[in-house]
């Protein structure tokens, strides 16, 4: 085999290689030129509204290349693999996973001085504790997914107002939830701290709180028809009539409600945990300037709050979030002011402790 390769290589080097090299030079030059005008973004579906993308590309001459992702795990894997030589400029980070993106060295702090439209964001999200690491702001908040109860108005009466309604034997075999998120909601309902910040000095307390919520879920597994992971599964369970009561932060119920299906959503009296979806700048991004231009244009685009809500399916973090949304859309996507006071956000400081306990508890609930 070595002899065969030796006989081939001289031929390649004399003829083909020179010819191939001559052909490759203009290609390499052009690809480098194109790369300078390229902006690579990993984004969830609808997070870069198509009309805005077109307008930005036309006005700036920058070509946006979107790599779609559906959840944090594959995105984290992709970006970790590219960490030493990143090809992505902006990535999507969900508040709950911010600590992993920071710990794995994937994102860098956002220089808000370079974003003249930063003030278009609701200060509740823009200046939030969960978005600060060592005093630096780590991401640009876009939309918020709050955990809510979703129920079939014909099957669930009276309307539920507590997370504990998912354990009601009346709905045996007709309840569904995402274990990880519902575990945190159950902790909240049990009076524990789902942000884990208050347990930092005594992790035993965190383990005790997680175990109490886990045990409650395991004792009430009979009520569950199925655990879901994706919004599409929840949609199928609800529309197929297999589930009548659910916990979710997915955008699915809003779409179902707007399409006239007999479902409603409610923030339980115990409060809720909300996840903020953000755009962050990748550490050593090849087109950092383009990334800032893009983010600033997005923040400054008129009516972007409503546009994002419609394309991504979540309430937006913009000051003008409700402007341009119909009453029905506001009811389906938004959070009432009284509910907003009961919303809590996962905190960066508590996320490592949370992950170390929650993932294991999720497996235990699944295994029963």
């Amino acid at each position: 085999m070595a002899a065969g390769l030796q006989t081939l290589l001289p031929r390649l080097s004399r003829r083909s290689l020179v010819a191939g090299g001559a052909l490759a030079v203009p290609f390499l030059r052009s690809s480098r030129a194109v790369a300078a005008e390229m902006l690579n973004i990993t984004a969830y579906d609808g997070f870069v509204p198509p009309d805005f993308q077109k307008r930005f590309e036309t006005e700036t001459g920058t070509q946006i290349r979107i790599r779609p992702v559906a959840s944090q795990a594959p995105e984290l894997t992709l970006l970790t693999a590219e960490r030493d030589h990143p090809i992505t400029d902006i990535c999507t980070v969900v508040g709950t996973r911010l600590h992993q993106f920071v710990a794995d060295g994937i994102i860098e702090p956002v220089d808000t001085a370079r974003l003249k439209n930063w003030n278009k964001l609701n200060p509740l999200y823009a200046g939030a504790d969960w978005n600060h690491v060592n005093g630096a702001i780590m991401s640009v908040p876009l939309v918020i997914g709050a955990n809510v109860l979703v129920y079939d108005i014909h099957e669930v009466t009276p309307p539920p107002d507590t997370w504990f309604s998912l354990f009601d034997v009346k709905y045996k075999g007709r309840v569904t939830y995402d274990i990880e998120d519902f575990l945190l909601c159950t902790m909240l309902a049990q009076g524990a701290d789902p942000t884990f910040v208050s347990y930092l000095d005594h992790p035993d307390g965190a383990a005790k709180a997680v175990n109490a919520a886990r045990d409650l879920l395991i004792r009430n597994r009979a009520q569950v028809v199925r655990f879901f992971d994706e919004g599409s599964e929840l949609e199928q369970l609800l529309t197929g009539g297999d589930a009548v009561l659910a916990q979710t932060y997915a955008s699915t119920p809003a779409r179902l409600i707007l399409s006239g299906q007999p479902f409603r959503r409610v923030v339980p009296k115990e409060g809720t945990l909300a996840y903020v979806y953000t755009f962050a700048i990748v550490k050593n991004a090849p087109n950092r300037d383009g990334a800032y231009r893009f983010l600033d244009a997005m923040l400054g685009a008129p009516g972007m709050g409503a546009t994002l809500t419609r394309s991504a399916g979540y309430a937006s973090s913009f000051l003008d979030a409700d402007q341009g949304l119909s009453e029905a859309e506001q009811a389906a996507y938004g959070l009432p002011k009284d509910a907003l006071a009961r919303v809590r956000f996962p905190r960066f400081e508590g996320q490592a402790l949370s992950s170390s306990l929650i993932d294991r508890a999720v497996e235990e609930v699944k295994a029963g």
Binding site: D104, V225, F227, D242, K366, G368
Partner: protein
Amino acid sequence: MTGCLRTLFVAVPVLWVALANAGPLLAMLRISLMQVYPGPPGAAPAFSLDAYASFWQEAGYRASLLRSLGLAAASTAVSLILAYPLAYYVARHVPPARRGRRLMLLIAPFWTSEVLRMFALVLLLSNRGALNFVLRWLGLSETPVHLLYGTGTVLAGMVYTVFLSMLLPLYAAVDRMPAHVLDAAATLGAGAWRRFWRVTLPLTARGVASGAVLTYLSALGVFTAAALLGGVSTLVFATTIADLFGAASGRWPLGAAFGFILLTISTACVAGVAALPALFVPDDRPRRDT
């Protein structure tokens, strides 16, 4: 030049096997031995057998593996029972000119995506699905019959997924069987059942064994059916592994280790089943007279 071309002909597939099969497996083996993945930037990885030990420490993991083994065995048995008469009918009773078309009709549904076929089952079997609609329309049930998200549904989905792995080897085995031996058995007075047990089954046993191995291995790795049709008590090992990779919290070493445990069991199954025909089934290959 001929030698060089021959070397290339061999080198390309060898390289392909090395890159496409051995490469990812070695990468996964490495991850399964890592204590943390992905590690902190710039830090050298630390290795241990912790991930493999976790399998023996957690009853839940062993339960999901046992469930997978049981469901794979059941779906192999159900596939065999369903596929054998079908293969026999197409190979022995359909005229040769029409055989290709009949086979195509059987294979055609498998040209669509597995996910699509599973979602079709969900639409068919859900509380507001077609089957419940028919049951209500016929007056057989006033309230929806819960058909989805149980062990039976997962089994049905698995059989639907792996059926072809059983059908095709069986068809090949029945098709290869010489017709005159059955005629001879009938002439000698053997009834239908006796002909089946004494002639047909032994002569197609190698096809049954190949089909069973292929089906069992495919069923062990079935993910979509379990993920889309399964309920709270139908967690299988493939979904456990997928969950570990999907957790986004450094659980990859565990997922990779479990993948290797499944691979080891699969290899043992193949070795075991491959040894069976040599012990129990007469060799049906033509022998050269000495």
